[in-house]
Symmetry: C2
Subunit: 339 residues, 2 copies
């Protein structure tokens, strides 16, 4: 078909070739119709609700031009799965839209698709459709993800109540530090980081965890949850605000990785940016005190690390941040917006 | 919040302001959670299948930088609805991803949202979520649309059989001519077009019809259907190929608007490009002969214009095009790919 078609981009590899070689092999769900149609057909079992979310990654904004395509693919899907996890939902199916320059090398598509496949295997979600189109750039990747949750059991961003305990998954600030290191490799020395530390932190920026182990614990025991894409403080504030409540975060409790602790030790001023930086994709959950023991037991059983970092407060005072010394911390910024 | 947030783009109007002012008012379905969450919750009634599709529009590829934002909004949604119509599905809900420069004026968002609203009112589909992110440009708009169809009744791209009649909705080639006129206004004179003709043709490029009136007729009587985004000949070939069949199109039967007929009269060489140009977003359907009378009666009753343009053939010979003189027409190109 390549000779019959007038292409905007004039790429040597046509849309159909790319789909057939790299995306059809990972579109194994029957709903995908082998990607030979322009829509997917999904059957939702009775008793389930469908959670729909979409996130876009723009080269130079959400990932770097020299990030390996395998991590770009993984991240594009991971940032959507973290939204589903926060809702207590399992990933079911997703649509992928790629707007990329016509001279994008075949190896990029190959790596990108293998990153998607890695996370499909981990999570059970499956590519079912999408669109590939030419763009002068930057590469712009949109995934619309659909998840399933039993009827009435979705965890929303609102719903937190005064005295709920605030938990966060994983560790905070790694992605911020990783991005800084990718932008300026000399910081590794200033922060006294080994090569392993640096690789760990840059890996956290490029390949977020999706915390699927939290899904059941959230659904059973949390009243509200959000994934941290724009910074721990700002996203906690969003959860509190739509819940018509305030929140307090104790920085002394915020979990930091060993590598991040090293950097913090050398440059304590990083603390503020780490709790207000983007791209963590960890989950913040508000859990009623009466559920706390059961929540902690369930996440322990699943090996999904969570840490108590504060609580929801009455009133509508936004987020109060308590510094390591116990005094209120005044932040220049609460978060990072990608717009 | 505007003062607390570090923005990639540094735009004066934040993501939250844009959502609150322009998108929350059109996200009236309960599933949207008022756009105050990062996901939508959809309940699919028993007995329905969900059709999922997504299409991306890139500025300079699918629309022009100086297209009015109201038509850009309308078109972004229309190109997705035409996919749902081709499946015999009604629009239910959609997610919108906008990757636009930070200095995009507020008036652009206002116009864009009003174009979406216009088509929401016409079609009953509703915005339920999305993502807004900064991009250096070009503006890149992705809509993931969800439609509903009764279980087992979706019309697919494959399924056409030898001797099926081929119908097309509306008129073909208007959008191709409209784009040419937008790129070179002097063509209006060469083609002997009035201002009204020119406005009609450019309007067809900017504001595709979504042919919702065809939904029931397709579901009840068609064996296969596709929307024409890459050219009548190429998209008909796609339908035939996945149906393991061939097709014949008689150009003497292909419907052209009065304005397009004027241009064709002055420049008969336009014919090939009109049947191989993109952006028509009309529907091609394969209808068994035994259903043809009922199909035609149903579309007449709905005021949805369709025209018989050819038939499906046995074998796997691709598409044969018969010229106006009855002889086979050899096309330099069969279609237009946006990649």
């Amino acid at each position: 078909m390549a000779d019959d078609v007038d292409r905007t981009g004039g790429g040597t590899l046509g849309e159909f070739d790319i789909i057939a070689r790299y995306f059809a092999p990972i579109a194994t769900d029957k709903a995908a119709l082998g990607l030979r149609d322009d829509a997917a057909i999904l059957l939702i079992s009775e008793g389930y609700e469908l959670i729909a979310t979409c996130d876009t990654l723009v080269e130079g904004v959400h990932f770097l031009a020299n990030d390996p395509p395998v991590t770009v693919g993984y991240k594009a899907l991971a940032v959507n799965l973290s939204d589903l996890t926060a809702k207590g939902a399992r990933g079911y199916a997703y649509l992928l839209s790629l707007a990329v320059p016509h001279d994008t090398p075949e190896s990029w598509f190959e790596g990108f698709a293998s990153g998607l496949r890695d996370l499909q295997v981990e999570s059970g979600i499956c590519l079912v459709g999408g669109d590939t189109t030419a763009s002068p750039g930057p590469k712009t990747i949109t995934i619309a993800a659909l998840g399933l949750v039993t009827h009435g059991h979705a965890v929303l961003r609102h719903g937190a109540k005064a005295n709920d305990r605030l938990y966060v998954s994983g560790t905070i600030g790694d992605a911020y530090l990783g991005l800084r290191l990718l932008e300026d490799a000399s910081l590794a020395k200033s922060w006294d980081l080994s090569e392993a530390d640096t690789n760990y932190l840059t890996g956290r920026y490029r390949r977020p965890e999706t915390r699927a182990g939290l899904v059941i614990a959230l659904r059973n025991f949390a009243q509200a949850a959000i994934d941290v894409s724009d910074g721990l403080v700002l996203d906690t504030e969003k959860l509190a605000t739509v819940s018509h409540a305030g929140a307090v975060i104790e920085t002394a409790r915020v979990p930091f990785s060993p590598a991040a602790q090293k950097a913090l030790h050398r440059a304590p001023e990083l603390l503020e940016a780490m709790i207000a930086g983007g791209d963590d994709y960890e989950i913040v959950a508000a859990v009623p005190e009466t559920n706390a023991a059961a929540f902690e037991a369930e996440v322990r059983a699943k090996g999904a690390p969570v840490t108590l970092i504060g609580r929801i407060e009455g009133g509508r005072e936004g987020v109060r941040v308590i510094g390591p010394d116990g005094a209120p911390l005044k932040l220049a910024r609460k978060g990072f917006s990608h717009f």
